[in-house]
């Protein structure tokens, strides 16, 4: 495999791994927790390094995961005092841990390879050079192995606990009455988020971790009404963002992580505008359709109410619509045109007649 292909494979695997727990973060309104965790893990990595003085030590990984869980606990602790709301608590906890990490790096580890640019954007392009070799056999890039492990872990976790996670996310109280321990599920999920963030952070940096965890699920949310579909669609969108982003970066000679993160945003914008049911365009179309339908119904009711009355001839003329219904002449003409075309109204010179269909429309108006 060329290193180009390896970079793409790593990005795709990490995108898939991030999207899975991201779905639950989005549904639990905890999207910003991914932001916090993906930054504070640096604290765990630095502390782990200062204790072991070895960048390859598994203690760094463990420390990072623990910091992620610590972040969630601190945020919830602050939140439970009722003195700080959850979003503010996140904004308080994560800069503190992150900045302590930055201070520790600059004070004690300035000459070590732990630089703050890499923290934000990662160094995906170099990932293939950090390989795992076991007894002389090249097993592949470390990031790919770690990423695959995390992807399998996430698949296993959600596959095994799909029903429990779904209920605890939708209705935690009912989950608790059934004995499903929503608090335990919550912290398990947060541990999974931390593990994923740490693994992904190493290869792609914290900005891309957030983008891959939140944007694909938020996009899928606009496109489906099923949780299971939302899960696989998020994976698909994440992988697509990673691959398209990679080629875009290659073509434009720009940052790979930046380009991938941009693609997640582009896909979201696409769904936001063009999602078949909930997109802006579809909603606007529906509104317009409803506006015309409503106007025609109003016209029918108006004609129906004045049919047979003494002022019928005056009320039921095209000229009257403008004054009586307070429609602009233009709008009145358009409504009339549509109503005629739809067989609701018949026009004879300056008189308007409701057709049979128009009568029915007038009678059902307001009934449903």
């Amino acid at each position: 495999m060329t290193s180009q292909q390896e970079v793409q494979l790593i990005a795709a695997v990490i995108a898939a791994a991030c999207a899975l727990p991201g779905v639950f973060l989005v549904l639990r309104r905890m999207a910003m927790m991914s932001d916090a965790i993906s930054h504070t893990v640096l604290f765990g990595i630095v502390v782990g390094f200062l204790l072991t003085r070895d960048l390859g030590s598994p203690l760094l990984f463990l420390g990072a995961v623990l910091t992620g869980v610590l972040t969630v606990s601190l945020v919830e602790l602050l939140n439970q005092t009722r003195l700080v709301k959850q979003d503010a608590a996140i904004g308080l906890v994560f800069p503190v841990l992150f900045s302590i990490a930055v201070i520790l790096i600059s004070r004690f580890a300035g000459n070590v390879h732990l630089d703050t640019d890499a923290v934000l954007l990662g160094e995906l392009a170099y990932a293939p050079f950090d390989r795992v070799v076991w007894q002389g056999i090249d097993l592949g890039p470390r990031a790919l192995l770690v990423g695959s492990g995390v992807l399998l872990l996430n698949l296993g976790f959600i596959g095994l606990l799909y029903k429990e996670l779904k209920l605890a996310t939708f209705d935690p109280a009912l989950a608790a009455t059934f004995g499903f321990l929503p608090v335990l599920l919550h912290y398990s999920l947060m541990t999974i988020v931390s593990v994923t963030a740490v693994a992904a952070f190493d290869a792609v940096g914290s900005i891309l971790v957030i983008a891959l965890m939140i944007a694909p699920p938020a996009t899928a949310y606009l496109l489906t009404e099923r949780l299971s579909t939302m899960l696989w669609l998020s994976v698909l969108l994440g992988v697509a963002s990673a691959l398209v982003g990679y080629w875009l970066a290659w073509a434009l000679d720009v940052s790979i992580a930046g380009s991938m993160a941009t693609m997640t945003g582009v896909l979201f914008a696409g769904a936001f505008l063009f999602a078949p049911e909930r997109g802006i365009v579809a909603t606007a179309r529906r509104r317009t359709r409803q506006r015309w339908a409503f106007a025609q119904q109003m016209l029918a009711v108006h004609l129906h109410n004045h049919a047979g009355s003494s002022d019928e001839a005056e009320e039921c003329s095209p000229a009257a619509l403008h004054g009586h219904l307070r429609w602009s002449p233009d709008f009145a003409a358009q409504v009339l045109q549509r109503a005629e075309r739809n067989g609701i109204v018949r026009r004879e010179a300056e008189r308007l007649w409701l057709t049979e269909q128009g009568c029915r429309l007038a009678q059902t108006a307001g009934a449903g």
């Binding site: 029903k163 429990e164 209920l167 939302m230």
Partner: protein, 264 residues
């Protein structure tokens, strides 16, 4: 899409709700619940006999929802205990169905009506086991009971308030419990749904089930229920409607601020 239910395999029948009348469906003793050392329920004692339709009534902040949550083990009491058919709630989970307040969940959650009703079976399934055909059939039958079967495949965000409430009721029915705890099921539903719900509650009582409802509308209390608990942090009164639902008790419960006159 019409969904044809198979013969649902009903869960095995349980022993009668009250093996001997001495064991109450719910027994609350000396229950005190506090949030941040601020008591919301003070030393509550209640015995709810099996087979009654009980309303819990009281002003805002009286602790009605908290009492219900304490019965379900959702809040930890500072003192006292709750027994369900003589045992702790943990051992009787399957015998209690819970209908939380409609507003307590996110109705934009990506799921269908039938799927939400199936969630009522999750407790019986336990950890890890997935719902299957049997659960689908039970859920569909429960939707028929609340006249919502036509909405089975509908996404839940498309439901009106009354329809949401019916879906929640169906989700509790599918549990085939002996006790139903409902938190304001009449909140914000139209007259048709209210009527349908009360019919359903009476049907449950006729089957010997015990139904406890947090209720707000004093006017309908004597008509809908046969037992009542008047609550305002403390237990003001508790018992059969005729004995308890008196003007004096109500005035005591609401601090003399109620204009509602019991219709009897």
């Amino acid at each position: 899409m019409m969904y044809q239910p198979h013969q649902p395999h009903q869960p095995p029948p349980r022993p009668p709700a009250a093996p001997h009348a001495a064991v109450p469906a719910i027994a609350v003793s000396d229950l005190t619940v506090a949030y941040h050392e601020q008591p919301v329920l003070w030393d509550i004692d209640l015995h709810v006999p099996a087979g009654v339709l009980l309303a819990i009534v009281g002003p805002n902040g009286a602790g009605k929802t908290t009492l219900m949550k304490a019965m379900l083990g959702l809040v930890k009491p500072a003192a006292g205990q709750v027994a369900i058919f003589g045992g702790p709630y943990r051992q009787q989970r399957q015998r209690v169905g819970y209908v939380p307040q409609r507003g307590s969940v996110d109705w934009d959650f990506p799921t269908s009506v039938l799927d939400v009703v199936m969630m009522g079976r999750y407790g019986a399934l336990g950890w890890f086991r997935r719902p299957g055909r049997n659960e689908r059939d039970l859920a569909f039958t429960a939707l028929q009971q609340v006249n919502m079967e036509a909405y089975a495949a509908r996404q839940i965000s498309q439901l009106s308030g009354g329809q949401q409430q019916r879906v929640f009721l169906a989700r509790a029915l599918v549990q085939a419990a002996d006790i139903y705890l409902m938190d304001e099921p009449f909140q914000g539903v139209d007259a048709v749904t209210e009527h349908a719900i009360i019919e359903l509650l009476r049907e449950l009582r006729a089957q010997g089930k015990t139904v406890v409802v947090v209720h707000h509308d004093l006017q309908t209390v004597p008509e809908y229920f046969d037992w009542v608990t008047l609550l305002n942090v403390r237990r003001i009164a508790h018992g059969p409607m005729a004995e308890v639902f008196t003007e004096a008790n109500l005035s005591h419960t609401y601090g003399g601020r109620t204009a509602a006159v019991p219709r009897r």
